[in-house]
């Protein structure tokens, strides 16, 4: 068994009396695509926030490549190789599409800050950014302001920004939510590509079972903040605990 790239150990966060994530221990292996499922309010996004550092943990720890990163800031975790895309689109609305991606690539570089060079003259940066945009078919819209993009295209840009970060661990939070039927495949193809490249680890919060069946190597199920199931996709989806916690509830809602 090789060393996990990312590990959470008893990770817990309480908001007042409410335990949003309840002692979740889980190890993620390099090259694996893990789907995280659970009903709404199960704590999936909060779990992500704890891993990427937007929320401080009440207890437990997060380990990335053997290093304890529980106390690190968001940007430090970024440089350590943790990349995150957001469920609610979270871009730089007043800047152009190209500029959004360029910023990500610029952030990836060394900590040196250039005050007196012209940002536009860095053509290598622009080229790399355009290549990323091409992968999500947004290269024609590079000059457009993000606030003027359609929702679907904003979602694509959200994914493109994570791809541009090129982290060791990709964290997607419902990447295809709100996308039209013809837009979603671009994003799913991209995730498939990442999966084929065996060096990239992917965590994927997703509701669509067909997507999970085709993409995931492994599923973990969160329910009321606790980890209730973990294992092979087909087995877990079929298991009673999931049917009850997730499918049953979903069906009951309908």
């Amino acid at each position: 068994m090789h060393q996990p790239i990312l590990e959470t150990d008893g990770l817990t966060v309480r908001f007042g009396g409410h335990v949003a994530v309840d002692s979740v221990s889980c190890a993620f292996n390099p090259g694996e695509l893990t789907a995280i499922v659970g009903p709404n309010g199960a704590g999936k996004t909060t779990y992500f926030n704890l891993i990427s550092g937007q929320i401080a943990a009440s207890a437990g720890k997060v380990t990335l490549q053997g290093q304890d990163i529980t106390r690190r800031s968001v940007s430090q975790r970024c440089h350590a190789g943790l990349g995150r895309a957001f469920q609610l689109t979270n871009l730089f609305p007043g800047l152009s599409v190209l500029e959004n991606v360029r910023l990500v690539i610029q952030a990836r570089g060394s900590g040196r800050v250039s005050l007196f060079s012209m940002a536009d003259s860095d053509t290598a940066l622009t080229d790399t950014a355009m290549q990323v945009l091409q992968r999500v078919r947004l290269d024609d819209l590079g000059a457009q302001r993000v606030s003027e993009l359609s929702h679907g295209n904003q979602r694509k840009l959200e994914v493109a920004m994570l791809v541009a970060m090129n982290p060791r661990v990709f964290m997607f939070d419902e990447p295809t939510a709100g996308m039209s039927v013809d837009e979603a495949p671009v994003v799913l193809d991209l995730i498939t590509e990442l999966k084929r490249d065996k060096t990239r680890t992917v965590l994927l919060v997703e509701h669509k079972m067909d997507v999970i069946r085709t993409l995931a190597d492994r599923i973990i199920v969160l329910h009321n903040g606790a980890l209730v199931a973990d294992g092979d996709p087909t087995e877990v989806i079929a298991s009673d605990v999931v049917q009850e916690a997730y499918m049953g509830k979903e069906l009951a809602d309908v």
């Binding site: 990427s52 440089h79 979270n90 730089f92 800047l95 910023l103 610029q106 952030a107 005050l115």
Partner: protein, 350 residues
């Protein structure tokens, strides 16, 4: 060449280019186009306020930080030159040392303020700057031994920069030290403005814009937001201090009212908003319009009042004493009709 000077940030509007060019030429040739002491005073004041307002725009318009301490930094630069000139004696070395120390002090103070307050919410930073600026203004007026208190300080600048230094005549204009002083002001302000324009178009400037747009995401893609905000604050403070130094060299006097008063802070805010936040060129237009209005609105109204003296009520409304009223009306109208500032409007951004 022009592209490099402007750092690739062109005006992007023909009308805006023309206006900027007119302002540039008018300021460059001010001593010859508009002879007279008063117009030269106005031109120098415009140059200095362009830099001061541009440095404030770096904070407010580019980084999204509200600060009320900008006049404090301006004052630090001005007092730096004044104190150096008094204690080191008249000379260019005093001007250089005073400016450098003023800028350094401003940057250090800005760093301290930033360290304490930029980690938390933006409103907290605004409150802290307000408190520190008020405290410094009180200190300056109380420590009269050092600062001259409310009376301020008079000092001598090098003879080459005073009217007593004459060296000929050209185009019917007497060439004297005042002319040299004006061109020192003009050249250093132009240089500082171009430097600021470069900074906002550098990779650093891009990050500032990203922080303004969405600081949460800027952190999430790996930028240390606090570090960038602090750097922007220090840089802005240092440039404001340099503008203050230039002002002090030009005026040969510093006092709390001319450099530290809160009304100047309000003027700066209005100039940024009227010109257009986050554009740099907005600083040029805002400062020019505002300083011109401050200096000439009264005269203009006086003549308008005389011209309409036969009519009822109107001459009273146009009386020079009402100039602040009309300045206020102009502001409200410009903010109402140009919410993105004059530059934003000219560039066609909604």
């Amino acid at each position: 060449m022009i592209n490099i000077l402007l750092s690739g940030d062109r005006p992007r509007s023909i009308l805006l280019s023309v206006i900027l060019l007119v302002i540039l030429v008018a300021l460059a040739l001010a001593p010859f186009l508009f002879p007279g002491v008063r117009s030269l005073e106005t031109a120098a004041r415009i140059c200095i306020f362009i830099v001061l307002v541009a440095s404030y725009d770096l904070l407010l318009g580019y980084t999204g930080i509200v600060s009320f301490a900008h006049t404090m930094f301006f004052g630090l630069g001005a007092y730096g030159v004044a104190l150096a000139s008094i204690h080191m004696g008249r000379g260019f070395d005093a001007l250089v040392v005073g400016s450098a120390l003023g800028a350094l002090a401003a940057a250090v103070l800005a760093f301290a303020i930033g360290l304490f307050s930029l980690r938390v919410r933006a409103i907290f930073f605004a409150m802290i700057t307000l408190a520190v600026a008020s405290a410094v203004a009180v200190l300056v007026s109380q420590m009269s031994e050092l600062t001259g208190g409310e009376d301020g300080l008079n000092y001598l600048v090098p003879r080459e920069l005073t009217p007593a230094f004459r060296f000929g005549e050209a185009f019917g204009i007497k060439l004297n030290g005042r002319l040299l002083a004006y061109y020192l002001v003009f050249a250093s302000c132009l240089l500082l403005f171009l430097v600021l324009l470069r900074v906002v178009n550098s990779p650093f400037g891009r990050v500032l814009k990203a922080i303004r747009e969405n600081d949460f995401r800027a952190e999430a893609i790996g930028f240390r937001v606090v570090a960038y905000r602090t750097m922007a604050t220090c840089l802005s403070a240092a440039v404001a201090a340099l503008a203050g130094s230039i002002f002090a060299i030009w005026l040969r006097y510093v006092g709390p009212d001319t450099t530290l008063s809160f009304s100047i802070m309000l003027d700066i805010l209005l100039m940024v908003v009227i010109g257009g936040m986050g554009t740099m060129y907005g600083a040029v237009i805002g400062a020019t319009l505002f300083v011109l209005a401050q200096n000439y609105l009264q005269t203009l109204m006086g003549s308008a009042s005389d011209a309409t003296s036969a009519l009822p009520l109107i001459p009273d409304l146009l009386s020079p004493d009402r100039w602040l009223l009309w300045l206020g009306v102009l502001f409200i109208l410009s903010v109402y009709f140009f919410p993105t500032g004059i530059v934003g409007r000219l560039r066609g951004v909604r």
